[in-house]
């Protein structure tokens, strides 16, 4: 970079000091407080709190639904990103702008509207419920809501990569007689794969922590449609601070692990780019 050893710009001490102070006061110390609280528990107590059958059912739903939703987004998000970057059609720009809608829409509103759409008398539920597809107050409802909130991730991660793809390689393949399908399988798919995985991981990470929309759509029945973040709130409302903290610590450690793997994935993906 342009910055050499001697840097005449002022303000490093001030801005760095403020950054560290603000970061510590509002993020690091509060998170450390949670772990400190967890360490007050003995290992045995901790294990009992986090491995109760209700908690295990909640993890299973949280991670299972997040995984399915992220997979749906990986498939349809890739397709949508492809359609939006490669083809011209009426309304493309509008659709492109709309992809960010789940980012911008408050999750409570997302939950509210999805629930009313898939309920028995809703616009979609009125056709789906007679077919036996219950998109409200069921595990399926959780998957639908998580698909909605995770939708932009795969599309937005993939789009810049698709735009920068050198078409000469595809032309070369075509010149050498490869069919379009073969070009896609042997050239495009391997190039795009790491980026799709990154987008998938981002959507998964978002889905694991999601709370606002799920509260509305799932019905929050213990053992059936209760997600892990909701169980934390339940424990908190029972003034069971240790129970809430222990489950929160589990979620927090898992989200850190996901964050680290996303960082690794991004370096892997950018290595394939050039």
């Amino acid at each position: 970079m342009a910055v050499k050893k001697f840097n005449p710009l002022p303000g490093f001490g001030l801005t760095m000091g403020y950054t560290l102070f603000y970061l510590s006061a509002l993020v690091l110390i509060p998170i450390a407080g949670l772990f400190l609280k967890t360490f007050q528990l003995s290992w045995h107590e901790f294990w009992q709190l986090v491995s109760s059958s209700r908690a295990v059912a909640a993890y299973r739903l949280t991670f299972g639904a997040a995984l399915i939703a992220a997979l749906i987004n990986a498939v349809f998000g890739t397709l949508l990103a492809w359609v939006l970057t490669r083809y011209e059609f009426w309304g493309r720009r509008f659709l492109d702008a709309l992809v960010d809608f789940p980012f911008a829409l408050p999750t409570a509103v997302a939950g509210l509207t999805l629930c009313s759409l898939f309920a028995k008398n809703g616009w979609l539920g009125r056709f789906l419920v007679p077919l036996g597809i219950n998109g409200a107050y069921t595990p399926l409802a959780v998957v639908i809501a998580l698909t909605f909130v995770g939708l932009p991730f795969v599309v937005r991660t993939l789009q810049p990569v698709l735009e920068n793809l050198e078409r000469e390689i595809e032309e070369a393949a075509a010149t050498l007689g490869a069919s379009r399908l073969r070009t896609f399988i042997t050239i495009l798919a391997p190039t795009l794969f790491p980026t799709v995985v990154t987008g998938f991981a981002l959507a998964f990470a978002r889905a694991v922590g999601e709370y606002g929309s799920i509260v509305f759509v799932s019905g929050n029945k213990p053992y059936e449609t209760e997600i892990a973040p909701y169980l934390i709130v339940v424990r908190l409302e029972q003034y069971d601070y240790h129970g809430a903290t222990a489950i929160a610590a589990v979620l927090l450690v898992i989200s850190f692990l996901i964050l680290i793997s996303i960082n690794c994935l991004e370096t892997w993906a950018s290595r394939f780019e050039r």
Partner: protein
């Protein structure tokens, strides 16, 4: 404008690039599936919000918004965003200046730490503040003795909101400031400008779009945050209910039309944010294209 030029080029290319185009059948199948998926998951939920909000007529819509509890929820949401966004804006500027303009050890760790709140579940974000300031928390006894309320009151809501919106401005600004480098600032300093003048007249104008982008995203999330705020607020109607919490309350009271009325304001906010975002993207792309053309044109003439 740019679209017209682009599409004309596309047409000419497609005539000569048959080998790299899918057959029309494949293309239109993909477009149909993609558009259907997007409409079903994006447009239908959006239209439904406004349809449900107006289900009992425009009069009912405005009377549910004018309800005192709704009004106080709107006021609290504006207040919280009004404190949160400037706080994170100042932090974002400071962090971006330190990270983009200087070299130091542990820079990538610092960037990861700033991104950390994005990885934390909103509920956990609220919980950490309850554990610090709640009645059973580390500072709970002391705060109670001094009659200071943080949890179940506005300060707690503000802190939880700052936590969840923490990275927005900083992560938009850092790459923009890194891309512009620091030659211009150094030139300003050499010409005798003070540090503040340099920042105000040189740095700030060059990052203004990135800054606005970050502020818009930060504001949208601050006004719409549900999980973290729900844990710290205590849901006291007329006192510590923000708009998203008020939506839930109305919904639980089986007043779904009123819930959708408040929700429609949040949906309008989302649309407004998207509009500004698209506008900034269009503007920066146009500026970039113009700059590219200005560089390329003399060569064409030659």
């Amino acid at each position: 404008m740019a679209g017209g030029v682009k599409s004309r080029i596309r047409v000419r290319q497609s005539a000569s690039r048959r080998g790299t185009e899918e057959s029309p059948l494949v293309r239109w199948t993909l477009i149909t599936i993609g558009v259907a998926f997007a409409l079903l998951f994006l447009l239908v939920p959006l239209i439904n919000v406004f349809y449900q909000a107006l289900a009992k007529g425009i009069g009912y819509y405005f009377s549910s918004l004018a309800d005192p509890d709704s009004r106080s929820a709107i006021y609290l949401t504006l207040l919280v965003a009004g404190i949160t966004v400037p706080m994170n804006l100042i932090f974002g500027l400071a962090a971006a200046w330190a990270i983009a303009k200087f070299n130091f050890k542990g820079k990538s760790i610092l960037i990861t730490l700033i991104d950390l709140p994005f990885a934390v579940s909103p509920v956990v974000s609220g919980l950490v503040f309850v554990l610090l300031f709640g009645l059973q928390g580390y500072f709970g006894r002391w705060l109670d003795d001094h009659d200071i309320k943080i949890i179940f009151a506005t300060p707690g809501i503000v802190m939880a909101t700052i936590f969840v919106t923490f990275p927005f401005v900083a992560r938009e600004l850092i790459p923009v400031m890194q891309a512009t480098g620091s030659e211009q600032e150094q030139a300003a300093l050499t010409l005798g400008a003070s540090g503040w003048q340099t920042f105000w007249y040189v740095t700030l104008p060059s990052v203004k779009w990135g800054l606005l982008y970050g502020v818009i995203l930060c504001n949208a999330r601050a006004m719409g945050e549900f999980g973290a705020v729900s844990v710290v607020s205590g849901h006291i109607a007329g006192l510590s209910n923000t708009m998203p919490l008020h939506v839930e309350r109305l919904y639980n009271e089986y007043n779904s039309t009123a819930a959708f009325a408040v929700a429609s304001l949040l949906a309008l906010l989302a649309l407004f944010s998207l509009g500004i975002k698209t506008w900034i993207e269009w503007k920066t792309r146009r500026d970039y294209d113009l700059a590219q053309r200005a560089v390329a044109e003399p060569e064409i003439e030659r």
